[in-house]
């Protein structure tokens, strides 16, 4: 699988073009998890939705299993939906409050003609609910009867119904209790092991991303600043933004935490309506040079698949 979501942007309200995401390029292997990390507004979700063709692209291309799906029409996209699914951030908003769980989980099957009705898909629904750790009688109930973690399981069951090969998980645990997060993350990992699903795991929680991802991409202001293997990026962050991000994670050992120094960078992220020429991080970067103001740094391989976009590495 290969995604080349370069320069995705969309029209703002005043006909002002906002390039929410620019020059983002990465590939996800089948059965792999790519973590996508960044602060709010950095374009993580937009990237995820652009890959799924939910957001119009202004430039760039998306490949899925070798096919260019950038310009697939709505009717061509429908069968593709069977292979790529989305798990939502807010489990309270992502389930229709007026539908029973079994109808929600069976809907993908019904829509794609794999079952005549939700009743006909009952066995499959029970199997899916079992798969995500819900009791079979959950199907008779409505979403409001469930907790956030259980609802997220329902959302995952719905995404699994079509046996997708690729799932974009858009902050699937951000809205959940810390105690529930691990359960959901483990569930996602088990499913990957059993079914070989590839994930694009969007999050802002570095610990969770570290736990689940094989490779991690860091986004800042609509661009990928660093992309590397999990151990690589945590052991040897190269981009100043990544360094700052990682130093913000507390260490669960008071002695070490006390002597640690946080690298914080003052300043604001750039205005997405009018990004500065050159590096997007220049306003906050301690190492910036003249070149950073003029030319955007390319995302380059610094050995062993460790990509960094910085002039000073």
């Amino acid at each position: 699988m290969r995604f080349d979501a370069g320069r995705s942007g969309f029209w703002g309200q005043h006909r002002m073009q906002v390039h929410a995401v620019e020059d983002v390029s990465f590939a996800i292997m089948s059965g792999e998890t790519l973590g996508l990390v960044g602060e709010s507004g950095s374009g993580k979700s937009t990237t995820g939705r652009a890959i799924l063709r939910r957001v119009p692209l202004s430039e760039g291309r998306i490949f899925f299993k070798g096919c260019d799906i950038t310009h697939a029409t709505a009717s061509a996209l429908r069968p593709l939906r069977r292979h790529m699914q989305l798990v939502f951030q807010d489990p309270y908003a992502s389930l229709n409050p007026r539908m029973r769980i079994r109808d929600i989980v069976a809907e993908p099957l019904v829509v794609h003609g794999m079952a005549a009705s939700s009743r006909a898909a009952e066995a499959k629904v029970i199997e899916l609910l079992h798969r995500v750790g819900l009791p079979p009688d959950a199907g008779r109930r409505y979403p409001h009867a469930f907790s956030g973690g259980q609802r997220q399981r329902v959302g995952i069951a719905r995404a699994l119904a079509l046996n997708p090969e690729f799932i974009v998980a858009d902050e699937p645990v951000s809205a959940l209790d810390v105690s529930i997060r691990a359960q959901i993350v483990n569930l996602l990992q088990d499913l990957q092991k059993d079914l070989g699903i590839a994930y694009l795991f969007i999050a802002h929680d570095l610990a969770v991303v570290r736990h689940i991802s094989q490779r991690i991409a860091i986004m800042y202001a609509g661009k990928i600043v660093e992309l590397a293997g999990r151990t690589e990026i945590y052991a040897k962050p190269l981009h100043p933004y990544t360094q700052a991000l990682l130093s913000a994670v507390p260490v669960p050992d008071p002695k070490i935490q006390r002597v640690r120094r946080r690298t914080t960078h003052a300043g604001e992220p750039p205005n997405p309506l009018d990004p500065p020429p050159g590096c997007r991080f220049q306003s906050r970067c301690p190492h910036r040079t003249g070149q950073c103001r003029l030319h955007p740094p390319p995302l380059e391989d610094r050995g062993g698949g460790h990509f960094v976009a910085c002039w000073n590495v």
Partner: protein
């Protein structure tokens, strides 16, 4: 089905409403059988007779008579036919049309949306009653034309409300999920969006029903609605207005009939809103369980000695 009836029975307000609505419909259907007189029979010697409990009232005309000596009770019973039919038909036609256009406008957005909304704006800008009068004057008044004209004037409010509600529901994650799963837009609209609009739409339909009954009255009063000798509640209220100070019963009883109808429909609608919302339904169930437990609790409490 049985459990639904059970649930209805436990909701006292809802079951009262249903009983009232059924009674009203039966009354309209069986009007010639129940009514003591024909609505047009005149008893000129008993003009403006008061209801039976007033001085000079008699059992001959229980609710009194109008200025031509027609029996008010019979007219109220017969009037229900036109009023209920016009109200229900207009709400149904205008509601369906308005809701569908609102759904299309809200869901499609863009040009379609602008086109439909400007169409609604334009039509709202015309004075409704005046247009209705002109159309009725051209094609001639009858019950059918009254229904059509009132529908033509009344659908815009449904369109606006629906469109606004669709815009907010459309943004929810479950609608996005439905689209992601590959639902066709028709399915998204009718399975995921419309069911979540039932509460505001039901409320609006009830308010509109009352308005339509009165609008029909206004048209009839101006001579462009229901034509005598046919009768409707609205028409009776309108003609009774001239005698309001000498014979209060002429406006009061058809007016009360309108109020009772609107009340009954309201009760039914609020019950329908409750049962169509799974969360409300469950709350209701929990409340009943608690009430049941309380009922049985006192005996249990007596057995345990207080400390």
């Amino acid at each position: 089905m049985k459990s639904l009836l059970d649930e209805l029975w436990r909701d006292k307000a809802g079951s009262t409403g249903i009983v009232m609505v059924v009674a009203l419909i039966l009354m309209a259907a069986a009007a010639p059988l129940i009514a003591p007189y024909s609505p047009t029979t005149q008893d000129l010697r008993a003009r403006l007779a008061p209801p039976v409990w007033e001085d000079n009232g008699s059992w001959k005309h229980i609710l009194g008579t109008d200025h031509l000596g027609r029996d008010v009770l019979s007219r109220v019973i017969h009037g229900s036919r036109v009023s209920l039919t016009v109200g229900a038909a207009v709400v149904l036609i205008a509601g369906t049309f308005g809701v569908i256009l609102g759904l299309v406008a809200g869901y499609r957005g863009g040009r379609t949306d602008s086109f439909i909304m400007r169409w609604i704006d334009t039509q709202v800008a015309f004075p409704g009653l005046l247009i209705a009068l002109i159309i009725l004057a051209v094609i001639g008044p009858s019950m059918l034309t009254v229904v059509l004209v009132l529908s033509l004037n009344g659908w815009m409010v449904y369109g606006r409300l629906t469109r606004g509600a669709v815009l907010s529901v459309r943004q929810t994650a479950y609608v996005e999920a439905a689209e992601m799963v590959g639902c066709s837009s028709v399915r998204v609209v009718f399975r995921h969006i419309l069911p979540n609009l039932t509460s505001p739409l039901l409320t609006l339909a009830i308010l509109e029903f009352a308005r339509i009954v009165l609008a029909e009255a206004a048209l009839s009063f101006l001579g462009m609605g229901i034509q005598p000798p046919a009768t409707s509640w609205g028409l009776d209220v309108a003609t009774g207005k001239n005698y309001m100070f000498r014979a209060w019963w002429l406006v009061t009883f058809p007016g009360v009939a309108i109020s009772i109808t609107v009340l009954a429909v309201n009760l039914v609608a609020s019950w329908m809103r409750l049962i169509s919302d799974p969360q409300e339904r469950e709350k209701q169930f929990a409340r009943q369980m608690r009430a049941l437990r309380k009922k049985h609790a006192p005996q249990g409490l007596q057995e345990t000695p207080s400390l």
